[in-house]
């Protein structure tokens, strides 16, 4: 039976207990974030012998977070009203446990995979560039291009309000031609550096170096950043090639995504 979590403190205590007893998990929220998710009534749970599934409700899908005893294989997933998405952050050098096969037996199918890459600022040769930040009147065009360009389940797409906030905070760079949008790059600041969240180019402008220019803008727009980070799909050789050309290196993290459709 699926039950909603209502007590944030009890939730966090349980998480810590499960971590300390060596259960396997893909749960990596901080205490603060975990409490907030329960407060927003976004977490439901499904208990079974040897583990638990937590389902985080997003607008059009559920994100799955699991805790499983060491030898326990994933339980067959229940059918929910929206698709279930399992995203894990793994070390590429380590064997994946639970295996992909055992998740397929539980009802999931492989969906896509990303890997994380980084570039240290000290390895960059500075270049003067004229950089264009997005303005408020470009919100609709950028939002449309973003939603057209990214798959809906694991791309962490912002809402329109969140995107507007980031535009106003100069976290969205644009490439323009005669005031028309050719592409955009959406980034954010994290403790360890600047993270490229989304980059997209209009279909008619692809192959013209627009993406490359935006990545350069991103790197050169920020003077006090030590590290640049991004996640890139492993089935996107043009993007991988572009980042490698800039000097980005894989940091050993991969994030496979699996899905159970309704």
């Amino acid at each position: 039976m699926i039950k909603k979590m209502i007590d944030g403190q009890a939730f966090w205590q349980e998480i810590a207990k499960r971590l300390s007893t060596g259960q396997r998990t893909n749960f990596f929220f901080s205490e603060e974030d975990a409490l907030l998710l329960v407060q927003k009534e976004k977490i439901s749970r499904w208990d079974f012998n040897g583990g638990v599934y937590f389902f985080l409700k997003e607008e059009k899908f559920y994100k799955l977070y699991y805790f499983l005893d060491k030898e326990k294989n994933p339980e067959v997933l229940p059918t929910l009203t929206e698709p279930i998405i399992l995203e894990e952050v793994l070390l590429a050098s380590k064997e994946r446990i639970p295996s992909k096969d055992s998740w397929e037996k539980a009802g999931l199918k492989p969906y896509l995979e990303r890997k994380r890459m980084y570039l240290m600022a000290k390895n960059i040769i500075p270049e003067e560039r004229s950089i264009a930040f997005a303005s408020e009147n470009m919100l609709e065009d950028i939002f449309y291009l973003m939603n057209e360009s990214f798959e809906p389940f694991s791309s962490a797409l912002p809402t329109k309000d969140e995107l507007l906030r980031d535009i106003l905070n100069q976290k969205v760079l644009v490439s323009l031609q005669n005031q028309k949008l050719l592409g955009f790059l959406h980034f954010g600041e994290m403790k360890q550096g600047s993270m490229l969240w989304h980059i997209a180019v209009m279909p008619q402008a692809r192959g013209l170096g627009v993406g490359e220019g935006l990545v350069k803008d991103w790197i050169f727009a920020q003077k006090d950043v030590k590290k640049f980070l991004l996640w890139v799909r492993t089935d996107n050789p043009p993007a991988l090639g572009m980042y490698e050309k800039f000097g980005f290196l894989p940091d050993g993290r991969v994030a496979p995504v699996m899905i159970k459709t309704t």
Partner: protein, 75 residues
């Protein structure tokens, strides 16, 4: 200490653990790292790390992590 350095090197080969004394505060270790590390430490040292111990101060440096391990081994 050697075991700990090996665990950390496997977890984050790109980080200089001997130098950095603000691993969490500087963002080098994120929440995924902490969760992975807690699991690895519990297994390697046969300890239990409670919610009250999963705080940045206990993971900011190799020395702090080692001190946590030793404290929990003594408990």
């Amino acid at each position: 200490m050697e075991t700990l350095l090996k665990i950390l090197a496997e977890l984050r080969p790109d980080v200089d653990f001997e130098e950095n004394k603000e691993l969490v505060d500087s963002g080098e270790l994120d929440s995924f790292d902490i969760v992975s590390l807690v699991g690895e430490l519990c297994e390697a040292y046969e300890i239990e790390i409670g919610a009250e111990d999963i705080i940045p101060e206990n993971f900011n440096s190799v020395e702090a992590i080692m001190a946590l391990v030793v404290k929990l081994q003594e408990d």
